[in-house]
């Protein structure tokens, strides 16, 4: 369960201001964040992930108070429990598909990369139909395939929470459905919570709950 209370956030520069009196998302919920650009959807996603810290208020994931953790602990928490998917995929050009999927295990010493993890990575890749491309550079793949690699990277540590920031924004309709299928499938299989920032209003009826950010600026 994610609990947001009396949250206030502003960037060091500019007049952006986000204020959320209270928001609760239950475990296993699938939530769509919608609202106009600049309404704070991505900011909240970052705050939930512990990438950014609020000026005031509290954010808790389960029984972990993210706001009371130091930077290192938040990173460790994030890499173990939160899977992140970005609109621009954010794959590393110099790594193969497999190495991109394994990245979380290479950049934090609290993660142990072993044979089982590798095997899981391969299975994940095969599950999203890129099993025969794991040794290629990720940059050589199509857009849809790239996002599938990014999704595999997010799923590999078996997170309890999936945060996707417009994951289908750069995809054609076909691939949009495909990627969402994978995310929803994971969430339903593992009981993980899925929060997606999206502008695709024709897809929002797939989510169990929609949070419209206009309400925070009313």
């Amino acid at each position: 369960m994610i609990t947001v209370e009396a949250l206030e956030f502003r960037y060091a520069e500019g007049d952006f201001f986000l204020k959320i009196p209270t928001l609760q998302i239950d475990r296993g919920e699938t939530v769509a964040f919608i609202g106009p650009s600049g309404s704070g959807k991505t900011t909240l996603l970052n705050l939930i992930a512990g990438i950014a810290l609020p000026r005031a208020g509290r954010i808790a994931t389960g029984d972990v108070e993210l706001t009371s953790l130091d930077d290192g602990s938040r990173r460790n928490f994030r890499i173990r429990n939160i899977g992140l998917v970005f609109q621009e995929f954010e794959l590393l050009e110099y790594l193969s598909v497999l190495d991109n999927i394994l990245l979380p295990y290479r950049i934090n010493p609290s993660m142990r990369l072993d044979g089982a993890v590798r095997e899981r990575a391969r299975r994940l890749a095969a599950g999203v139909d890129i099993g025969d491309k794991v040794d290629r550079y990720a940059t050589k793949l199509s857009q849809g395939e790239k996002q599938r690699v990014a999704v595999c990277r997010a799923l590999l540590p078996q997170p309890r929470l999936l945060l996707a920031d417009e994951p289908t924004g750069n995809l054609d309709p076909n691939n949009k459905g495909r990627v969402l299928d994978i995310l929803f499938d994971y969430a339903s299989r593992t009981g993980a919570t899925l929060i997606t920032v999206t502008h695709d209003h024709d897809l929002i009826d797939r989510y169990g709950r929609v949070v419209d950010f206009r309400e925070f600026h009313a």
Partner: protein
């Protein structure tokens, strides 16, 4: 740590051209001044060693440097010649063993060193195959010459005319190769040795021809008085000394007037050396006596001064290259900001991300330094002989 190294390696391998350029720059930055220093020091050591092994050098008055370079390294221009009488005079003084040198002619680009058998003993040169100089017209090849020309004992080498237009003067002499010297890692490897008398044959001072006083020798004879027989230039000038014609080789005039370029003087002790040097101090003296090591030291001082400037310049260039390399790296860090941000967002630890970047720099630096070290080692191994060919 291992994972950071892996990522760094993947990055460098993917950007291999950029990496290669960076490594090359680092290699050059390190190698140029160090390698140059090693090279110069080593060449200096070699030059000095040769000079130190040559106690005294007598030559006609003129440039001492020219005399030393010609007599020790068989390089530079031909110094003023002096008469062979000087060697006889030196011997008569009894103060030093004289070893005459006549370094003037060449054969296929290699210097022909006219000397006596004493030279080989003096330099500690061993005959690796064949024999030492025996008959007039024999030559003994330095190891490198034999290797380069592909000539062995029993073969022949033809001396080069001094100039293409030299028709009346120096006839090419076909010399028979009596032996090949063992490698000595010295200029002797690059020389062709002949008896000084053979060098005079090349010059045309000693020559062979049919006996003009014999009845058969009518073709070349222009006039035959009671005792003076005038012969024209068609009198056969032998271009090869064989067992059949060696008898006809004869010296014209007095041997003591024949030319040599230098005499290595080997005094038995310091006292003799001091007396000998004193003898050549006289202002009327036509010859000079030089201590090769002093001459070389002077030259090397000059070279070292130049070297300091060169190294200073190289270091400045190196520093600016280093600055450029740092700039390249910083720029690439900027370009990789998004990549770093992604790693941070996913949950990469500060340490791990820093290690990836550091590993890349360290790897590039390390490979550059290792390459530079390897190059320096190679230089110290093979560079000196190469530079000797280059310098002279």
């Amino acid at each position: 740590m291992k994972d950071s190294l892996y990522l760094a390696w993947r990055y460098l391998a993917y950007h291999r051209i950029k990496t290669a350029i960076l490594i090359t720059s680092i290699t050059l930055i390190v190698f140029l001044p160090v390698g140059l220093r090693v090279l110069v020091n080593q060449s200096a050591d070699q030059l000095t060693a040769r000079a130190e092994a040559t106690p005294l050098l007598v030559g006609a008055k003129g440039s001492p440097l020219e005399l030393v370079l010609n007599s020790l390294y068989f390089e530079s221009d031909i110094p003023e010649t002096m008469r062979y009488a000087e060697a006889i005079r030196l011997d008569t003084m009894g103060l030093a063993q004289p070893i005459p040198l006549y370094v003037r002619f060449t054969a296929r680009g290699y210097p022909i060193v006219g000397t006596t058998l004493e030279y080989f003993a003096f330099r500690g040169l061993e005959v690796a195959s064949g024999t030492s100089l025996t008959m007039l017209g024999d030559c003994v090849l330095g190891a490198r010459v034999a290797e380069q020309l592909g000539v062995e004992a029993g073969g022949t080498v033809v001396s080069s005319p001094e100039s293409v237009f030299d028709i009346a003067g120096v006839y090419p002499l076909k010399m028979s190769v009596a032996g090949v010297l063992a490698f000595s890692d010295s200029p002797d490897d690059h020389a062709i040795f002949v008896d000084v008398k053979t060098a005079w044959v090349i010059e045309g001072l000693v020559h062979g021809h049919v006996d003009l006083s014999q009845a058969g020798a009518t073709t070349g004879v222009l006039r035959r008085d009671s005792s003076v027989i005038t012969a024209n230039a068609s009198v056969v000038q032998f271009q090869e000394i064989t067992t059949d014609n060696i008898d006809s080789f004869h010296f014209h005039g007095n041997l003591s007037t024949y030319p040599i370029t230098a005499i290595i003087a080997v005094p038995p002790d310091q006292r003799s050396e001091a007396i000998l040097r004193g003898r050549y101090e006289s202002p009327d003296e036509l010859s000079q006596i030089v201590v090769p090591v002093s001459v070389m030291d002077e030259l090397l001082d000059t070279i070292l001064t130049v070297q300091t400037f060169v190294i200073a310049a190289v270091v400045v260039v190196g520093l600016s290259t280093l600055a450029t390399a740092i700039l390249v790296f910083l720029l690439s860090l900027r370009l990789r900001r998004r990549e770093i941000e992604t790693m941070v967002k996913i949950g990469g630890s500060r340490g791990s991300i820093a290690w990836v970047m550091t590993s890349e720099i360290v790897a590039v630096l390390l490979m550059g330094v290792l390459l530079a070290t390897a190059l320096t080692l190679l230089t110290s191994q093979f560079g000196s002989s190469a530079i000797r060919t280059l310098i002279f």
